[in-house]
Amino acid sequence: MADRITLQVTRYLPEESARPTSQDYEIPLRKDWSILDGLNHIKDHVDGTLSYRWSCRMGICGSCGMTVNGEPKLACATFLADYAPGPVRIEPLNNFPVVRDLVVEIGDFLEKLSAVKPWIIREDEEPVEGEYLQTPTELAEYKQFSMCINCMLCYSACPVYGLEPGFIGPAAIALAQRYNLDSRDRGSHERLDVLSTDEGIWDCTFVGECTRACPKHVDPAGAIQRYKPTAVAETLKAFLLPRGKR
């Protein structure tokens, strides 16, 4: 194994240039270094002006999403050695405006996330002794979707989000399902108004790239397809049944 590897990092410095450029950095290639370790090496020892987001270094915080050799990846969970002898192309996430270097603007995602009300909604909060109980089967219903870390790799992989920026997107819908399928939640009808729209689930054409990109195996594409029949049934029920029976 060669002992050095080149990272071709996209630089965008709006005060210097209106378009991004690429800058090569040659760094040590160590077996246990992730892409993030490589970027931190550049930041600490080579070029302190390089900007990127990171926090936990262990695939939990979802901050360090970027495009590595064309694929959306978490920089902390992607290893340099897998790309030897290089070079490795590192770009910001696709489908988001770039603020600086590898830092993208995520306000749009955060707005969409809060629009689907990703929290437990109760109509009447009953005072309970201890906690609301849940069986393992009830937990299994939504557990997979609760693994989402909001890293936005799925938005970067989704061509629909790139073409139709109004699309609520994979992670927000998967997280809506995380609460819809929770036995303690009573808010699914509130989420229906946001999800069952042209810019909600019906924009999704099941490309499936979100599921392939997801580092936590959440399967957002599956969540969206599973919600489609539910949305149709709920809409029909609202149309056919008197208010009290819904």
């Binding site: 965008y12 209106a18 405006p97 770039v98 603020v99 306000g107």
Partner: protein
């Protein structure tokens, strides 16, 4: 803070790359997806062709013979060969997608994706068999 901070869609300093018209050539999976969407056009033609056949059969021997002559036209034959490819492609790719969209539970346990897929193919073979038996009998 009394002021409400609102999200702004775009600042001049942000860089927003344009998506190329040929975005679907960038990855194999995007190309397969676009071909799957395109296959719907051929599925629609397949249905029209079938309806034309049924109409020709119902209108007697002469109409049926005319329909057979039309179908033997090299252009029509070429179109139908392409249609067959896309209809099979459409079916296979949708069958592959089905287990992810369908969650079937039996006695509280989720039926494995492989079984759901297998049942789709079994239903396909069965229906093809019944159709072939009706036509060839």
């Amino acid at each position: 803070m009394s002021e409400q901070v609102e999200h702004v869609d775009f600042y001049a300093r942000w860089y927003k790359p344009r998506i190329s018209r040929l975005w679907w050539l960038r990855r194999r999976s995007y190309l397969v997806f676009v071909l799957r969407e395109l296959s719907s056009v051929f599925v629609a033609w397949f249905v029209v062709f079938l309806l034309l056949l049924v109409r020709a059969v119902s209108q007697g021997d002469r109409e049926y013979q005319r329909f057979l002559d039309l179908s033997a036209n090299p252009w029509m034959l070429a179109l139908n060969v392409i249609t067959l490819f896309f209809v099979v492609f459409h079916t296979v790719t949708w069958f592959d997608a089905a287990p992810r969209a369908m969650v079937v539970r039996l006695r509280g346990r989720r039926v494995p994706a492989r079984i759901v897929l297998l049942l789709h193919y079994a239903a396909w073979v069965l229906l093809t068999g019944i159709t072939a038996w009706i036509i060839l009998d």
